[in-house]
Symmetry: C2
Subunit: 249 residues, 2 copies
DNA sequence: CAGTGGTCTAGACCACATC
DNA sequence: ATGTGGTCTAGACCACTGG
């Protein structure tokens, strides 16, 4: 906790005080100004800085903790949390974890890589804007040596500059992005499609067999980060989620 | 608000006071003791009844409001909310609404109904227990007269007694259940399958065409309520959800 | 106008984990 | 032992809205 860190907390005067505090700190985290592990000022320091009572500061921090942006422990204080690796319903964010969680050995192979301006089909597919600089990857993931899922990914270079130099030799691009980029929003779509001939060959299934197609696009503060299409051979895969009528359970 | 209603709020002495209050009221709602529309006692009444400060009562009620179980308005007070008709990701709870939302005219037809003890395949399929009394329905839903989704549903009679007398003439069973049963938990699974010959005929697609299979099972307080398999012709359907790394946005 | 919830304060006590 | 967060109280003022 440096002086500059607590000075960075600035209110905007809009809405309830506790919510101004919450948003101020949330923005510092999402902007990357307070990366994971950063020590958040203790409640009494924020009280002084902001002229708020402790209950009000506590309410703001408690909400951020419930949202998972920070973790709080007595005595040791509050730190910015690492974004959770997986989430709820469909967040197969890490394919290696998914495969190992199923009890299989994981491996992957980069089938193709093309850097440069996005081609027309990619632009349409991912709605990332016309002719922006991207890294375009095709990756095949294996479970016990058997094709598990076919990944086609576009990484927006302006947002994730380091991707241009990365070879993705140590880990597949999805995992690398988790460690080397920030995201604040994602959109998923799931559909069922028939495997096209080239996809079927790669996945070692028959042409036309049903596959689950998971498309995910992520942004950080309006800036596109990456878009990915994951093609899972049908039948072998299910996505499961549990809910209550009023929300997650 | 009758006296019996406020007397029904009982704490269990476990954990923080605000959480005891929250759980006490939540349970009354989920049990059906306080059905949707019930007037929840105002904060000052709960203060007196429970011997808690207003801030503590307010914290409990505020949390229930954020969870969507109650709605609160100044002056007019707090009432038990109606369970939301749709939810987050995959909750196509109402197929009529889904179809109309897409701009099509909705219709449906009950293809088959079989009441009585669950047959073996149904028992295995829905894991509802062996040889329990159920209503077993097959329903085809149409959008503009075109087959939209094929529904196979089992309703657990012990939990939803009225289903035995219901003809589902006014609305399909999913919508009827929303109005005539309570549920506290649901589980979804999504997968891609090839249409079998009889399914393909009903849906007016080719045999083997990819379909999105959505399976949902719901319970109320551990008791099974219903289980359903929805088969959507592939390609034509996508399920979309938006998230942030720390939760829904 | 009066009753309701929404917010905020000042202060207190406690639980917990590290020092 | 001390600093941190977790809870709770008593009281206050305000905003909204139905009678």
């Amino acid at each position: 906790m440096s002086a500059s860190q607590i000075d960075a907390v600035a209110l905007d005067g809009a809405g309830p005080l506790y919510d101004q505090i919450r948003r101020a700190i949330r923005d510092l985290i999402l902007n990357g100004a307070w990366p994971p592990g950063t020590v958040v000022p203790p409640e009494h320091a924020l009280m002084e800085r902001l002229g708020a009572s402790r209950m009000t500061v506590h309410r703001a921090l408690g909400q951020l903790a419930r949202e998972g942006l920070i973790t709080r422990r007595r005595r040791s204080g509050t730190i910015v949390a690492s974004p959770p690796a997986s989430h709820a319903m469909l967040d197969i964010l890490s394919i290696p974890e998914e495969v190992r969680g199923l009890g299989h050995e994981y491996s992957y192979r980069i089938l193709a890589r093309r850097d440069g301006r996005a081609q027309r089909p990619v632009v349409a597919l991912f709605e990332l804007g016309r002719a922006v600089e991207v890294v375009h990857l095709t990756v095949l993931h294996f479970a016990d040596g058997v094709p598990h899922v076919l990944e086609e990914r576009v990484i927006h270079l302006a947002t994730v500059l380091a991707a241009g130099q990365e070879q993705f030799a140590a880990m597949p691009p999805g995992d690398w992005l988790l460690q080397n980029s920030l995201w604040s929003q994602a959109e998923h779509a799931i559909s069922a499609v028939a495997a096209e001939i080239d996809q079927a060959q790669l996945l070692a299934i028959g042409e036309g067999e049903p596959c689950l197609l998971v498309e995910r696009r992520t942004w950080n503060q309006r800036e596109p980060v990456t878009a990915v299409r994951l093609l899972y051979p049908g039948g072998r895969h299910r996505f499961i989620g549990r809910f209550g009528p009023y929300g997650k359970v």
